[in-house]
Amino acid sequence: MTTAPQNPITRAIWDGTLPIKFSLDATEAAALGAKTIIEPYFVFRGSRGGAGGVYLSMNLHLINRLQMCTYEDQIRKYFVDMALNFIGDDAEIWYDVDGTPLKWHYPIGLLFDLHTGYRPDSNSPPPLPWPVTVHFKNFPADKLIRAQEIDATQDFFMSMIKEADFLRNGSTKKVMNLSKNDQTQLWDGLWSIFIVLFTSFVCILHKCLNNLINCNQIYRTENYERFWSVNYRLVINDGQMPRHIPLRIYLPENCPVIQEPVTPVDENGNQLTLGDVLHQILPDLFPSPVAGENNSTAAPVIHGVIPQLEMPIVWASQNLCYPDNFLHIVVLMGI
């Protein structure tokens, strides 16, 4: 069995968190018969980067488990009220930010970068905790894919990993050759982050913050090991230069997602940089592959950070990809 790489970058991304404040849609909650005044009901730290891999659909289970597991305060009471009156199924639950539905099959970290449009180099503080509204009715089927159950999230995740593998190798042989155990380990490592987060929430309820920090650290390390010991083999591609880099680019104003076959080296075998790739695909937004020579205000944001344009794209892919093996790049314009 391989061990996870002692890579401070993948580890930092794995440990990244994003505080989110979920509130229920007031109208819907009233219609469901909620008796208490609707207040934003909790803040939890959605893991951000590793958690790029934590998907919103997992919150469906969080909500269910809260109904069962929490005891004595107003928040729990509220959920019990909801539980008695909400007879729809989990697939009816959806989320929005300022009226824009959130795609449950996107990683949360990506959704944050995309929907807040927050530039990490701006002078203002980030909009945290991130306010997200939960809905139980009127599922916007024209904008969102309906997830029937949590397994759908796992299927999407594995399919993305296969799509990434196909881009790197022209086949999905590397993923398909993973043992059943390895495949399970990949998903479990990711899923377990979520269990930890749930635990965190219970801890917050009981104001056991120290306890939370300690247990988080241990679990995070375990899950990092679990996930990355398998993922490392995929991402590093057995040391072979990938044919193409699994990469998606998201532009402002709801532009269609850009995904192209990006080769990591030029015709002379020189490694291309992130700047080269952005310049190739978006020449008007990145007139030069070098940062200092750009008179455009566009900047790539990955995991809430503006990476240097000079980094080789292969390195970026291996170190900054989300757990689905894709490098998700949000392009934001400066002020």
Binding site: I145, S171, M176, C255, P287
Partner: protein, 144 residues
Amino acid sequence: MSVQLSDHTDPSPPPSSINANSSLGSSAAAAASSSESNQTIPVPATSFERYKRRDMSKVVVRFRAIGNAPILKQNFYKITASNQFKAVIQFLRRELNYKASDPLFLYINSAFSPAPDEIVSNLHKCFNTDGHLIINYCTSAAWG
């Protein structure tokens, strides 16, 4: 295992831009020329309009039945590149005369199932084989 999609859970507008072009037949030449009809229209550098504009060019998809899935009379179709993959799913369901409850699974290159909101032009650019986007379909989950 793959996600099963059904029409009633996904009531987006019908994919009117999918045309069964029977004259296309299996002509590889026609297929090749269709993918060359992309045109770029210059716009000011600060505008995202050019990225929002629908790519009306067509790409060729080729359906291949797997297992006991029914075979289509025609397996080449030209599809508007800016469509989402869900338009392909809905189109195939209609062609097969499948009810919403009938299981149907779609794969690219016998390898993976794209999300329904992936864009056909992206899939075509990344995964085409000799200019054709090969889509396998079956009535039970096949790959993974």
